[in-house]
């Protein structure tokens, strides 16, 4: 039915709901032009940030000032994009993440003596991909969005081209990501061969009536898509690239990779499961369960004795997405809510943690401040920055009164609701192991250190935009932990179509 819109052109309401995507696209054009006219780090960063803010504005007004104006939701814009509350919520989250990354990049790139400006261009392109992914309800837009999200990331990961490890990270991600994309494409082709359609909703409508060998092919195709998604989300056993890329990529890029790109893909996974009714294929749910348990085990065990903070956070993100899968497996409205809340808390926390790493690092040094021994005694040098990292680590561990607790509580509630005891046991044991390595890192921050350190954030770290962003993130972590009700209401309001 929705094909009709293509011929009639877009209605004004559809144009309005597309505003974030349109504004962001315009910003990309604008920044490209600005760089071509004159290379100026501050100007180009500011234009990017302004564009991101403008793109965020309609979403902000929609969610926080609904009495003023709301977006005319939901809208189906061509068969490719469906913009509903759910998509808007994740678009807002990705834009905020991109904003945080842009400000952190500005703090970080100041010390880089190559071309600094293109990183914003790549960031904006990737963000656009993220927006498309969370709106997509069709395999075509899914794939285009995913590639638009990933391809600039290769460039961002390898941005410090003179650094061997940065280049290595970019190359590894490029090659392996291509493998994953191939799996996704092949899976889509298999499904299309049986269904004759690429739209999620139409797949979902027919999935119940298909049986026999046709159904097996669809299961096979879906499994192959899950392989690709599992790679993007770095779920075990597709996680091996994660620590290497996290370690090699510049710190702000890592924070983006860990948050925005995974959020977008995860939001898509949930939408696919709900709209294409993948829950009706129990074998796929079994696959997710296996991936969840493996991710929790691998992520936590590998992080156990890790001395490199960026790698440690990489492993911890593997475990966190394992926890998140438990909510997806639980299914139902509470599951969608749980995923939203968990992703929100995870994104805020991870950004704060990588934000501190970014402020501590500079491309002047041959690598980022990533060894946890670089952080030994940080409290005695930069007490407030240490407080932020401490809160972030506590939140990652899920300690009450921080954001992480709320997310984990939701996941466990969703799981307990559906009696997923085996998975919940994995979550609980994984969290216990997790506490060990988060606390192990935290202890280093407070040890007395007598000799001078190579790595330290500049004394005026809090005065730049990056510093302000990190302080805001810490406040958000505490606010989410202590007074989460408004955020929960936001997630509840942003349901699927």
């Amino acid at each position: 039915m929705s094909f009709l819109y293509v011929h009639g052109g877009l209605t004004p309401a559809q144009w309005i709901t597309l505003l974030p995507i349109l504004i962001l696209s315009a910003t990309i054009v604008f920044v490209t032009g600005a760089i071509a006219i004159k290379r100026h780090h501050w100007w180009n960063a500011t234009i990017s940030v302004a564009g991101l803010n403008l793109a965020l504005l309609p979403l902000f007004v929609h969610f926080w000032l609904p009495q003023l104006w709301t977006l005319p939701l939901p809208q189906t814009v061509t068969p490719l994009l469906g913009i509903d509350g759910y998509a808007c919520f994740y678009m807002a989250m990705i834009l905020v993440t991109a904003l945080a990354t842009a400000t952190l990049s500005h703090a970080y790139m100041e010390g880089y003596n190559g071309n600094r400006e293109e990183v914003y261009l790549l960031l904006l392109l990737s963000t656009l991909g993220g927006l498309v992914v969370v709106c997509s309800r069709h395999f075509a837009s899914f794939f285009i969005g995913l590639e638009l999200l990933s391809v600039p990331l290769y460039g961002m990961a390898g941005y410090l081209v003179k650094e061997r490890r940065s280049l290595e990270a970019g190359t590894k991600y490029l090659v392996l990501s291509a493998v994953a994309s191939a799996f996704i494409l092949f899976g889509m082709a298999l499904i299309y061969s049986q269904m004759g359609t690429l739209a999620f909703a139409e797949i979902g409508a027919h999935i119940g009536v298909i049986g026999g060998s046709e159904r097996s092919v669809i299961v096979l195709g879906s499994a192959m898509i899950l392989v690709g998604i599992g790679f993007k989300l770095s779920l075990s056993p597709f996680h091996l690239w994660t620590p290497d890329v996290y370690e090699g990529a510049p710190a702000p890029v890592t924070s983006y990779l860990a948050t925005a790109s995974k959020t977008a893909v995860f939001a898509l996974l949930v939408r696919y499961f709900v709209e294409a009714r993948a829950y009706q294929m129990p074998s796929l749910v079994n696959v997710l369960s296996a991936l969840a348990i493996l991710s929790i085990i691998f992520g936590n065990v590998l992080a156990l004795r890790q001395d490199n903070l960026k790698r440690l956070l990489a492993y911890s993100s593997i475990a966190h997405f394992g926890y998140l899968l438990v909510a997806v497996i639980a299914s139902g409205p509470l599951a969608v809510e749980a995923v939203g809340v968990y992703l929100l808390t995870y994104v805020v926390t991870t950004l704060a943690a990588f934000g501190v790493v970014t402020l501590m690092s500079s491309p002047y040094n041959d690598h980022d401040a990533e060894d946890i021994f670089d952080y030994r005694g940080l409290f005695w040098r930069r007490p407030y920055l240490t407080a932020i990292l401490t809160v972030a680590l506590l939140s990652l561990a899920g300690v009450p009164l921080t954001a992480g607790f709320i997310g984990k509580f939701y996941v466990i509630t969703a799981g307990a609701d559906k009696h997923l005891w085996l998975l919940l046991a994995a979550v609980v044991l994984g969290s216990a192991v997790g506490l060990f390595y988060y606390l192990r890192t935290m202890i280093q921050l407070y040890l007395r250190q007598r000799w001078v350190q190579k790595y330290s954030a500049p004394l005026n770290w809090a005065q730049g935009t990056g510093g302000a962003m990190v302080v805001l993130l810490m406040l958000a972590m505490l606010l989410l932990g202590i007074f989460p009700t408004p955020f929960i209401a936001l997630v509840q309001a942003a349901g699927l179509l």
């Binding site: 392996l176 599992g230 091996l240 590998l302």
Partner: protein
């Protein structure tokens, strides 16, 4: 003003935060302004809120202010709300009013101390926690405040941490009260399992329908809560920590270990009154514990020589009276005595602090003497405060509350409790005036210089006024919260009981004058007689509880510790950790950094995923 209720506990909390962050950077004057001022703000808001509550009393007798709901997941909706009714208003009045005066006095007492700012930050945190305890509408928040005050008590007893003795006194207080807290926590768990809520008003409303009177579960819950109360209020058998807690600065003893925290147990029992009424056995034991504690503490106080320890034992015995009153069903009288006790005991402790500072940190009463001329204000404070402690008839605040307790016990037919209380009053008079006669009369032993300044005189004068009959005239708005006692409205014998208890107090004082004024020949003879000497030693050791607990608990525990020296128990746990570590070693080998292997792993993983998908 009622809608500003949250300011009452927020103001000291902010004071705590500012003082802790500014430690070492703000002057003592500024710290005084913040530390004392924050309590002053609380006191003013309490006053305003109280006036408004009393002038427009809601039908259910309580004003509830919902501050926020933590989250809402399914049916789990923990919210944080404050509840102000007659009982919590009384407690808030005592905490902020007396607390303000003690803070003011402390700004004089602690001046020049190295940890001045730290002191006030802990004190503010204490007041915030205590207010949290009495204002929270939920037993969970009550418990939170309960632990908060325990922590502050620990921090302040060990305030002068360079002396290891203070540290060990602080640990003792912490550990002993923690035993009670554990009982209380179990009681709360049980209550939650039974009623499904910890909201106080809701739980108290549903409890009578859920439990039958004298049922096993409700009795167990009441006894477990009583365990928490005796720990916090230093009653038998968890009373041993209070005398050692006197290691803290004297304003701390006045605020925490006399006026507020130690009475939290009384508050808890009054708050959960419904449960205790459903468990008559537990309520009976509340009275017995109170009676026995007040007698033991009274005997012990007779032979102590440290001015603060005498006061500590008197606190213990006065809280014994409050427990006795609760046990006798005289709920309002217990809270009334809680308030008057806060007035006169704070006065006694503060003036004891003044005496101690004047005598250059001397605490042995036999090294003092004849101080009445040099320290007129502390002297009169001791006369009035001591008089109130002994319940000198009609002139002092203590008389009105203690007489009420004795009358209610008598009227309710609790003759044993009544007699114990009467005999305790007699002991109280003797030991109190033994202290006063020794310190302020007789020969001068040491040089003393009096304090001065508003921060010194104002708290003493205000508390002195409140300890006289003026304090006894305060009418508490408890009618809607707590039921009337058995002897409410008076009875034929009320005047007789008043005269009896009054004359017991006066006789005790006269006896003390006979024994301790002048040469004390009789006392000396008694002390050296064959019967008197061991008895004095027994009383002096507080009936040997410390010795007994050392043999019963501490030594066996240390023995266990020695047995388990090489951590046999931990090894079992470490085995799990060790296997995880070796697993870590194995899995780390998969991170080769080689892209060939990574690509292969994706392929292997794909085989796995497809196998699970197709085969399951």
């Amino acid at each position: 003003m009622l809608n500003l209720l949250f300011v009452v506990f927020l103001s000291p909390l902010l004071g705590f935060i500012v003082l802790s962050l500014g430690r070492g950077r703000i002057s003592q004057n500024l710290a005084t302004v913040i530390g004392v001022g924050s309590i002053g703000v609380s006191a003013l808001v309490t006053l305003g809120a109280g006036i408004q509550l009393l002038s427009h009393m809601p039908a259910d007798g309580a004003y509830t202010q919902v501050l926020w709901q933590w989250m809402e997941v399914g049916s789990f909706t923990p919210r944080f709300a404050l509840r102000l009714d007659g009982l919590s208003l009384t407690m808030c009045g005592v905490i902020t009013g007396v607390g303000f005066l003690i803070h003011l006095f402390a700004s004089w007492y602690m001046r020049g101390d190295e940890g001045f700012t730290r002191f006030f930050s802990y004190m503010n945190l204490f007041v915030a926690s205590m207010l949290f305890l009495v204002l929270g509408d939920n037993l969970l928040f009550l418990y939170f405040g309960w632990e908060g005050v325990g922590l502050c008590s620990y921090l302040l007893i060990g305030f002068w941490y360079q002396d290891p003795a203070n540290g060990s006194a602080a640990r003792k207080a912490f550990i002993v009260t923690r035993i009670g807290d554990t009982f209380m926590a179990i009681g709360l768990f049980l209550l939650f399992r039974e009623l499904g809520t910890l909201d106080i008003s809701q739980a108290m409303a549903t409890a009578p329908g859920h439990f039958e009177v004298g049922g096993n579960t409700v009795t167990a819950i009441a006894f477990l809560l009583l365990g928490g109360a005796v720990g916090k209020s230093a009653q038998l058998p968890l009373q041993t920590w209070l005398p050692d807690a006197m290691a803290g600065p004297t304003p701390v003893s006045a605020l925490i270990h006399a006026a507020t925290m130690v009475t939290a147990g009384v508050y808890l029992i009054a708050r959960t009154r419904v449960l205790f009424e459903l468990a008559p056995l537990a309520l009976h034991w509340v009275g017995i514990i109170g009676a026995v504690t007040l007698l033991i503490a009274g005997f012990t106080a007779l032979v102590q020589t440290d001015i603060k320890r005498i006061l500590a034992y008197s606190t213990m015995s006065q809280i014994g009276y409050m427990f006795l009153a609760l046990g006798a069903g005289a709920w309002q009288a217990a809270i009334f005595h809680l308030m008057t006790h806060a007035f006169f005991k704070a006065l006694l402790f503060l003036s004891a602090g003044a005496v101690i500072l004047a005598c250059h940190h001397e605490q042995d009463i036999f090294k003092m003497g004849g101080l009445r001329k040099k320290l007129p204000l502390p002297f009169w404070s001791f006369i009035v405060g001591g008089g109130a402690l002994c319940a000198v008839p009609y002139l002092t605040a203590g008389f009105y509350s203690k007489d009420e307790i004795l009358w209610q016990a008598y009227a309710g037919g609790h003759l044993n409790l009544f007699l114990a209380g009467l005999f305790g009053a007699f002991l109280t008079s003797i030991y109190t005036f033994r202290l006063i006669f020794t310190v302020f009369f007789g020969k001068e032993h040491s040089a003393a210089n009096s304090g001065h300044g508003l921060a010194y005189t104002l708290p003493l004068i205000v508390l002195l006024a409140l300890s006289t009959f003026i304090g006894g005239q305060i009418h508490l708005p408890l009618a809607l919260v707590l039921p009337a006692g058995p002897g409410e409205g008076g009875g034929a014998d009320e005047t007789k009981i008043a005269l009896l208890s009054g004359s017991v107090a006066v006789i005790g004082i006269a006896l003390a004058a006979l024994l301790f004024l002048g040469e004390r020949k009789f006392v000396k003879w008694l002390k050296n007689s064959t019967l008197g000497a061991p008895l004095a030693a027994f009383f002096g050791a507080a009936f040997g509880f410390d010795w007994l607990y050392d043999k019963l608990f501490v030594q066996p525990f240390l023995w266990l510790v020695r047995v388990n020296k090489s951590d046999y128990l931990d090894r079992a746990i470490m085995a799990g950790a060790g296997s995880l570590q070796s697993l870590n070693g194995v899995l780390t080998k998969t991170q080769t950094g080689r892209i060939r292997w990574y690509a292969a792993s994706v392929a292997l993983g794909a085989v796995l995923v497809i196998a699970v998908a197709v085969l399951s």
